[in-house]
Each structure stands twice: as C-alpha cells, then as structure tokens.
Point group: C2
Chain length 100, copies 2
C-alpha cells in the first residue's frame, strides 16, 4: 500500500520505460550490425547462416543471467525473436553481397 | 574486402553480441519491473491492463528512433514481443494481488 503521496505514478513508470526503449532500439541495432558482420564473413567462407548450436548457446547464456522478474519462458521467447531478426538481417546482407 | 589480416573474426563479433545480450537481459527485466509497478497501480484503480493506444505509442516511438540497420518491420516485431511479455507480467502480478 501507499507509503506516502509521492509514489511514482503510471506516467513516471512510462517515462522510465520510454527511456529504456530508446536504449533497447539502439542496442538491438548494434546487435544487428554485429550479425551483419558475421553474415559477411560466413558468406566469404561459404558457411551456413543458420547455426542452431550457436542459437541454443545464446538462449542458454541469457537464461543463466536472468535474475527476473521475467521468467525463463519469457526470456526464451524474447531471445527467439531477437535471434530471428538477427538471422534475417544476416541473411539479407549475405544474399545482397552474393548478387554484387 | 579485407583491409588487413587483423579484422575482427566471427568469434570477436560473437563476444560483442554476448556482452550486448547480458545488457539486454538486464534492461528487459528492468522494463518488466516498471510494467509490474504499472500493473499494481492499474489494479488499485480498476484500470484495464490492455491499453492499445499506449502500445501503439511505444511502437511509434521505437520506430521514430530507429536508425537501422534493422528495418521498421523488424523493430515493430521486436517491440510487439517486448510489449507482449510486459503485458503478460503486468497481468500475472495484478491477478496475484487480486487473490491476496
């Protein structure tokens, strides 16, 4: 229950979420840039883009560092989406270079 | 093409991704904590958890700050997942409190 009249309100929490989201957009793009670089190297070496062992390792690392309140299933779903977008951009870039 | 023999290799990019992922887990949990606090306030005030206008605003803000290389559709899919997990944890917490 309320300890004082000065607790943060919904608007305050939303401002904090908005600030986090800007940082998340920035970091997800930085992650995508890394994936693009990996895609270029794989393309040069004729390596496959899809690497299920690496993807499982990414999720295992995320899960092992999860202190909550998100549960493991939530972290897994989030990272499956993040990995999916990285794989997509890695593939698009590799295919573009293949056509050049 | 390679400018020198000292370019970062796949392992270097993966290390950078791993470091980003630990920060992402931390920030996604911080975001979830904010969502939980919002859920508690909404519960006290009998407000609905699902707020489509706010969710559209979150995505619009993310899109307007997206400098790539992720495209708009990728950012939208990522934030739909992030919002979905926030809504889930907001709801679980509100329901738990309702039972207390």
């Amino acid at each position: 229950m309320a300890k004082s009249g000065k607790e943060p309100d919904i608007g305050d929490w939303r401002n904090r979420i908005d600030a986090l989201d800007l940082e998340l957009v920035r970091m997800l793009n930085e992650r995508a840039r890394c994936a693009i670089e990996i895609g270029k190297i794989k393309r040069k070496r004729n390596m496959p883009i899809y690497d299920p062992k690496r993807e499982e390792q990414i999720i295992a690392t995320a899960l092992s560092h999860n202190e909550g309140p998100l549960d493991g299933e939530g972290v897994r779903r989030l990272f499956e989406r993040i990995i999916d977008e990285s794989r997509r951009i890695e593939r698009v870039t590799a295919e573009k270079r293949a056509k050049d």
